[in-house]
Amino acid sequence: MRLPIAQSVAEQLLQLTAEGLGVTLGVVLAFSIGLVGVVRSGEARAESRLGAALGWTALAVLGFLTFAAFVALALIVVTKK
C-alpha cells in the first residue's frame, strides 16, 4: 500500500517543480521582453524612427500581456483547486 502513496507524492512534487519552474521562467521572460520593448521603443521615438518604435511597442504589449496571462493563470490554478 506504500507504493501508490509514494507515487502520488512523486507525481505531486513533479507537478510542483514543473509549475514552479514554468511559471517563474514564463513570468520573468515575458516581463523582460516587455521591458526591452518599452526601452527600445522610447529610444526609437527619440531618434524619430517611427516604424521601429511601433514594432518595439508591439513587442512590449505582447510581453506584458503574456506576463498578465501567467499571473492570471496562477490565480486561477489556486482558486479552482
Binding site: Q12, Q15, L16, G20, T24, F31, R40, A74, V78, K81
Partner: protein
C-alpha cells in the same frame, strides 16, 4: 460557560495571536526584497502586503485541511494539545524574531502540534506519512526549487534585458517588483493564514462545536484569521526585513523581481496541492538563488548558514516547547487552570523581554543625546 468553553476561548485567542506573530514575523518575506532594492518605501510595502495577505486568506482552504487532519490523529487532539502547540510556535517565533532570524512560522506550528500530540498520546498520535509526505519532503524540495527557479530566472532576465541602458531597465524592474511583491504577499496569505484556520477548526472539532466528519472551516474563522495576519503584517518585523533584504545578498531590482516571482510561483503551486510550505524557506532559497546565479561569492553564506541552522532547529525546538507546555498544563489537571496559568506566565514573560529590549534600544539613543 464550563472549563472546556474557557479553554476553547483561550485556544482561539492564542491561535489568533499566533496568526498575528506569523504576519508580523513573515512580513519580511513579502516586502524585504522590494524594500532592499528601494522599489517600494517600507510603509507602502508593508501596507500593500497587509491588504494582499488579507485578500489571500480567502482564496483557498486546502492547506487548512492538511493542517487540521493530515498531521496528527484528530481523535487524540484536545483543546489543551492545541493550546500547547500554539505556545510552542509563538515562543519559537518570538525567540527567532528577537535574534532577527527568518525562521518558519509554519514549521514552528507543525513542530508545536507534533510535540504536544506526542506528549499527550505518544507516537501513535502522529500521522507519519502525512508529516513526511505533506510537510518534510515538500519542505526540503521547495527552497531548492525556489533557489533553482530564481537562479534560472535572473539568468533569463539578464540575457534578455541586461544590455539595455541601466536607468530605464532598473526603473522597469522596480515597477515589476510592485507586481511580484504583491503576488508574493497574496501567495503568503493563501498559504499562511490557512494554517491558523486549520488549527482553530481542529480546536472546534475537539471541543465538539463542529462535526468530526468532513472539514468545514466556519466563515468567522476565515475572517478573523485573515484580519489577524493582516494586522500582524501591518505591524511589520523590521529586524527580519533587514536580514532578508540586505544582509543575505545586496540585490539589484532584477534579482529582487526574479526572487519574488520564483517564490510566488512555488507558493501558489504548493497551495494548490495543499502543502503547508514555509514562505520564509521559499523566499530565502529564491534570494540565495538570485544572488548565487550572478556571483556565488555575492551571497553571504555565513548569514545563510545561520538561517539554515534556525530552519533545522525550528520543528524540534517548537515541538519541545509544545510538549513541555502540555506537560505543565496537565500538572494542573484537565480543566482550564493549566492553560490560564500558562497564558498569564507567557504574557508576563513576553512583556518582560520586550520591555528589556526596548530599554536596551533606548539607552544608546539617550547616551548620544
Amino acid at each position: 460557560m464550563d472549563a472546556a468553553d474557557i479553554v476553547l476561548v483561550i485556544v482561539v485567542a492564542t491561535a489568533l495571536a499566533f496568526d498575528f506573530t506569523n504576519g508580523f514575523h513573515d512580513t519580511a518575506n513579502a516586502v524585504a526584497t522590494s524594500v532592499g532594492t528601494r522599489a517600494l518605501s517600507p510603509k507602502l510595502a508593508v501596507g500593500l502586503a497587509a491588504i494582499l495577505n488579507f485578500v489571500g486568506a480567502f482564496i483557498s482552504l486546502k492547506v487548512a485541511a492538511t493542517i487540521g487532519k493530515g498531521i496528527v490523529e484528530s481523535g487524540v487532539v484536545n483543546p489543551t494539545v492545541i493550546f500547547a502547540a500554539l505556545v510552542g510556535a509563538i515562543s519559537w517565533n518570538l525567540i527567532t524574531w528577537y535574534f532577527g532570524l527568518p525562521s518558519s512560522s509554519s514549521h514552528a506550528l507543525i513542530g508545536g502540534i507534533v510535540g504536544a500530540a506526542l506528549a499527550a498520546a505518544g507516537s501513535g498520535a502522529i500521522i507519519g506519512a502525512g508529516l513526511v509526505d505533506k510537510v518534510l519532503i515538500p519542505g526540503m524540495v521547495a527552497p531548492i526549487l525556489a533557489f533553482v527557479a530564481a537562479g534560472l530566472a535572473i539568468v533569463v532576465a539578464y540575457l534578455v534585458a541586461g544590455r539595455q541602458r541601466p536607468g530605464p531597465a532598473i526603473r522597469g524592474f522596480r515597477l515589476g517588483q510592485l507586481a511580484s511583491s504583491s503576488l508574493f504577499a497574496l501567495a503568503h496569505g493563501t498559504n499562511d493564514a490557512q494554517k491558523t484556520m486549520g488549527i482553530i477548526t481542529l480546536a472546534l472539532i475537539a471541543h465538539g462545536s463542529l462535526p468530526t466528519t468532513g472539514f468545514d472551516v466556519p466563515t468567522w474563522v476565515i475572517v478573523s484569521s485573515a484580519t489577524a495576519i493582516a494586522l500582524g503584517t501591518y505591524s511589520g518585523g523590521w529586524r527580519i526585513i533587514r536580514t532578508m533584504g540586505t544582509r543575505i545578498i545586496k540585490m539589484d531590482p532584477a534579482q529582487g523581481f526574479s526572487a519574488q516571482s520564483a517564490g510566488a510561483a512555488v507558493l501558489f503551486s504548493a497551495t494548490a496541492l495543499g502543502y503547508p510550505l514555509s514562505t520564509t524557506h521559499v523566499i530565502s532559497g529564491a534570494v540565495m538563488g538570485a544572488g548565487a546565479a550572478k556571483s556565488v561569492s555575492a551571497v553571504r553564506w555565513g548569514i545563510a548558514g545561520n538561517i539554515a541552522v534556525a530552519w533545522v532547529l525550528t520543528i524540534p525546538a517548537a515541538g519541545a516547547i509544545g510538549a513541555a507546555t502540555y506537560g505543565l498544563c496537565r500538572v494542573f489537571g484537565t480543566g482550564a487552570a493549566g492553560p490560564i496559568l500558562v497564558s498569564v506566565c507567557a504574557i508576563g514573560l513576553t512583556l518582560a523581554v520586550l520591555g528589556r529590549r526596548s530599554a536596551r534600544l533606548r539607552r544608546p539613543a539617550e547616551a548620544q543625546a
